[in-house]
């Protein structure tokens, strides 16, 4: 299975690396990081650079496409080669997937019209505006279109995909291999669980509320 993870300037690293860590362990899988041009791509905060191995032009008919989110999604969905490539790749893919605000890019490419999908909790309104039907769940399947919620949800999405593709035993073996037995020190990872004042803090600083600089609140 050929899996292409789309990189673009100012993507959020964990959106891509969480699923990569799971999917790369799927027997027979080959994960490639791809971008408009091969070469260095910087993450949202400028503190990390990944290398895109191949250009989009050289990445034809991947079995799975994965689109991470991040503040760079705004530029990515404004147009350019990525949207055309996504439409083309989706024609032949077995799975077309995203994490966090990556679903806004899929939506901008016209791939989520009327489809059930999720995104970062701060971006539901934007996802609806782009034609999808937002669903407040961590991993959402609508046929071959699979979307994960914010940032860390890509790990859960990838394990769910592995179970569908290769069965529960393989998914459990990978989960145990990466010792994914989460024990967050707080139960604050969802707006339904976090203290109200923290939810409001992030909401007030979100780029989906105001077009200001990036902060803690940014979904990235």
């Amino acid at each position: 299975m050929n899996i292409a993870i789309l990189l673009y300037d100012k993507f959020t690293a964990l959106d891509a690396i969480g699923p990569y860590e799971v999917l790369s362990r799927l027997p027979g899988a080959r994960v490639a990081f791809v971008a408009a041009e091969p070469g260095p791509v910087r993450t949202d905060n400028g503190m990390l650079t990944l290398l895109a191995e191949r250009s989009l032009e050289d990445t034809r008919e991947p079995d799975m496409v994965l689109v991470p989110g991040g503040p760079g999604e705004v530029a990515a969905r404004a147009g350019g080669v990525a949207l055309d490539w996504l439409r083309e790749a989706d024609r032949t893919s077995t799975w077309t997937t995203s994490v966090c605000t990556g679903s806004l890019i899929l939506a901008a490419a016209g791939l989520l019209d009327g489809r059930r999908a999720t995104t970062h909790w701060l971006a539901f309104d934007e996802l609806r505006r782009l034609g999808a039907e937002p669903v407040d769940e961590r991993v959402v399947f609508d046929g071959k279109l699979v979307t994960g919620a914010g940032v860390s949800a890509g790990i859960d999405m990838a394990l769910t995909l592995v179970a569908r593709i290769a069965g529960d035993v393989v998914a459990q073996a990978i989960q145990l291999g990466i010792e994914y037995d989460p024990q967050p020190p707080f139960d604050a990872g969802s707006p339904h669980k976090a203290p109200v004042e923290i939810v409001e803090l992030l909401r007030s600083r979100s780029r989906f509320q105001e077009q200001e600089g990036e902060t803690l609140a940014a979904p990235r």
Copy 2:
């Protein structure tokens, strides 16, 4: 706070990127990926390349050091500039940390002698052999030495560190920002929870049992 994440050939990406995603959001933090030489560093499976921004020589007195694990730890702890650098960095660091088998590198540098520490569940015996006192917990503090269990545990470790450094509100805001509300599709992330046959499968294929090629079972 200057945070240096050590890269080396065949490290495991999520060990490094999980904590990076959390720690980079700590107000005032600056995360740098460092290696013996600056430039491209490939992950354990060869499917991803990260750029090390700085050489170890140019990375002096970081406030926090983080050592990821991965099959490359064997070469990393066999000697070379990384061990000397770790010993030097630990003299002035506020926090010296590792994820997964990164603790074997800290131990090889002599930094875990008689200290309570954790590692990937398959590597406890090796950690003991290297002089540490293995503790079967997800995140282990022994003074300023902080170690996380396998691969994905680095996210929990980093959130716990952020709470210690900047308080619970900041840690919860970061957790909500990355929507870390884990919902793995199976409860198989620990050898105490996974089906026995899957635990045995991974154990039988572990590089800590036999010196063979990497598989699902590798802690990476």
